[in-house]
């Protein structure tokens, strides 16, 4: 601790003597700091209100003694005021006891804090309070404390280090201290705060940076560039990638809405089901690889070798999840062929994952999934048990839909033959071509409808905050459908009642009032503000802007 003795004589001279006795060996920049300190001290003193005569005395003495002495004088001053127990004295006391050495700083310049007297007593007060807590940990510093107190001096680089170590949770809300604290590595703050302490802004309260750790982190990050996960372009290349999607995929396995982005989910599912699949393929060889046993086995082995570690533990679950989710997605996926194929691939794909691996060269996820799905679908079709297994796994999938999709992919397969590789060129062809007219009759009509409904179904599962069954989600879709029909009917009635053929927002508001959503207490605007994003709110709620104009126009 500092060597200050509260009972000693409080004259500055004696205190200074004492301080001088405990010499600080490290002040390489003494002359500069002395000068800087003197300048600073002068500034501070001009800013401060010359609190006490002893302070002035100290300043004079400080100037005479140079940096170290200046700092010491600060301490002396602090100790001198101990008896008074003002915030300032407390602060000074703490400064006295602050640790002297800092690891970081070779130039822990004494920055002789001019009038440690602190520019703002109020701030010191809080800082003192907090500093006091750290008192026992800090070693007596002689040069650091004043340096810390000196606000607005950029050169004080690592002064803070000791505070950083000893005061990790230092609130940093104190202006002068924080300014000096932040100066170490962050951009220096308030250089002008010395002149106008009252106007100086508080720096953002943040933790002081530990120089050593910071540099270390810099080096580490520079050496190891971030591992960017390319989800869409390299579906099977990185087993680690398969890990993370699986991690976030397994929790929402029940609610399929875990993946907001369908493509992302498709890609992740594909990947995760891929590694999962290859572990399953050996488990269910007869079921899955009946069709193309040789190729599939080969690919499965490849997969095993590449990502065995990743999928080892939860091989079966992700597979089933992937299948179920894939089926679920099949019913809800959009019109685009690639989307359909991507999701459809999930469903029947077990053996096709290894085949999909071969198609990594395509470097296109949809293509890969489509291709994977094609041969897999063909193999699945050829295998009766496999086909039977799929509907079992996905109870909710309309079989007609599934059969249609498989059929579509089966068509290109027979022509090129049963070989996987030969089916690959067929799959890309299939992907690029628009869906066949024969098989896409009802699909475009239903799928976008389902896709739109799935939008609200996702909201449902989000609001529910509980895991849900697939059947429950289908039920929600049906309810939504019915709700839409009722809504349209009601709107028609309201518009007809108003003698209009156009449904206006007033009709919708009346509908909501009838539903009980809009009441005398809760107006429509309140609901709009609460539930709709800002962009829609702008469109719905008229707002006046400059030029005496209202938007949207009434």
């Amino acid at each position: 601790m500092a060597d200050h003795d509260p009972d000693s004589d409080s004259t500055p001279r004696t205190l200074l003597r004492r301080v001088l006795d405990t010499a600080d060996p490290r002040t390489p920049r003494r002359p500069r700091s002395a000068r800087a300190g003197a300048q600073r001290r002068a500034l501070l003193e001009t800013a401060s209100s010359r609190r006490s005569s002893s302070q002035t005395k100290m300043t004079t003495r400080r100037h005479s003694h140079g940096a170290r002495s200046i700092s010491r004088s600060a301490y002396v001053q602090a100790s001198g005021h101990l008896k008074e127990q003002t915030p300032r004295t407390l602060l000074k006391n703490i400064l006295l006891t602050a640790p002297e050495s800092s690891i970081l700083m070779p130039k822990s310049v004494v920055k002789p804090v001019p009038a440690p007297q602190v520019v703002q007593p109020s701030r010191r007060e809080s800082s003192l309070g907090s500093l006091e807590l750290q008192l026992p940990e800090l070693e007596p510093p002689t040069t650091l404390a004043p340096g810390l107190l000196a606000p607005g001096r950029r050169k004080q680089r690592l002064r803070l280090s000791m505070f950083q170590q000893g005061v990790p949770d230092f609130p940093l809300c104190l202006l002068p201290l924080t300014s000096s604290l932040n100066l170490t590595f962050a951009t220096p703050l308030q250089p002008q705060s010395v002149q106008r302490p009252g106007l100086a802004r508080r720096p953002p309260a943040r933790r002081a940076v530990d120089v050593g750790a910071f540099l270390q982190d810099l080096r580490d990050t520079s050496l190891a560039p971030p591992n960017i996960v390319l989800e869409d372009t390299q579906p099977f290349s990185q087993p680690t990638v398969g890990c993370s999607p699986r991690v976030y995929r397994s929790p929402p396995c029940m609610p399929h809405t875990g993946a907001e982005d369908t493509e992302l989910a498709a890609g992740c599912k594909k990947r995760s089901s891929g590694p999962g699949m290859q572990t399953n393929s050996p488990e269910k060889p007869a079921q899955f690889l009946a069709g193309e046993a040789e190729e599939v086995d080969a690919f499965a082995l490849d997969f095993l070798s590449t990502s065995s570690g990743v999928s080892g533990e939860d091989g079966v679950e992700p597979l089933q999840d992937g299948v179920e989710e894939a089926e679920k997605r099949m019913e809800e996926e959009g019109v685009s062929v690639s989307e359909m194929e991507a999701t459809g691939a999930q469903g029947p794909s077990r053996a096709e994952e290894p085949e999909g691996h071969t198609e990594v060269t395509e470097a296109e996820e949809s293509q890969g999934t489509a291709e994977a799905k094609g041969p897999g679908a063909s193999s699945g079709d050829e295998d009766a048990s496999d086909r039977a297994a799929r509907p079992e796994l996905v109870s909710s999938t309309p079989e007609s839909l599934q059969a249609r999709r498989h059929h579509q992919f089966l068509e290109p397969d027979p022509p090129p033959g049963a070989a996987v590789l030969s089916s690959e060129p067929a799959e890309p062809l299939l992907v690029r071509r628009p869906p066949r007219p024969g098989t896409t009759g009802p699909r475009p009509q239903q799928d976008p409808h389902k896709a739109g409904l799935s939008h609200y179904v996702k909201f449902f599962s989000f609001y529910a905050k509980m895991p849900m069954e697939r059947k429950a989600l289908e039920m929600v879709e049906k309810c939504l459908d019915k709700y839409f029909q009722h809504l349209c009917d009601d709107l028609e009635v309201f518009a007809a009642h108003a003698g209009r053929k156009t449904v206006k927002p007033e009709d919708v508001e009346l509908l909501m009032r009838r539903q009980g959503l809009v009441t005398d207490q809760v107006s429509l605007h309140v609901l709009v503000e609460r539930y709709l994003p800002l962009e829609y709110r702008q469109l719905l709620i008229p707002c006046a802007s400059s030029g005496n104009s209202v938007f949207p126009a009434q």
Binding site: Y463, E474, V476, Y483, V503, L532, E535, Y536
Partner: protein
């Protein structure tokens, strides 16, 4: 200067309303009617609120039955309570 009626393309709205879907559904149901510009946003709002209430109700039902998972029956019961 009045704000534009359309949101600039670069803006990514989270929780977008499927305006095209809503318009299409309305058109399919009532081809003789027309829907006004911002009307479908309000329709979307009402759907959101409906889904919200349905979810709350089915969650309550599931909790009452001490199920950790929302079942089809819970959703059905909640929807029935909504049939006015």
């Amino acid at each position: 200067m009045a704000l534009s009626t359309t949101v600039s393309q670069r803006k990514q709205i989270k929780r977008k309303a499927p305006r095209g879907f809503l318009k299409r559904v309305f058109k399919r149901q009532k081809p003789q009617l027309r829907l006004e510009k911002s009307g479908d946003l309000l329709v979307h709002l009402s759907c959101l609120l409906f889904v919200h209430r349905l979810a709350e109700e089915s969650r309550t039902n599931a909790c009452e039955n001490k199920c950790g998972v929302i079942n089809k029956e819970h959703v059905l019961a909640a929807a029935k309570s909504f049939v006015e």
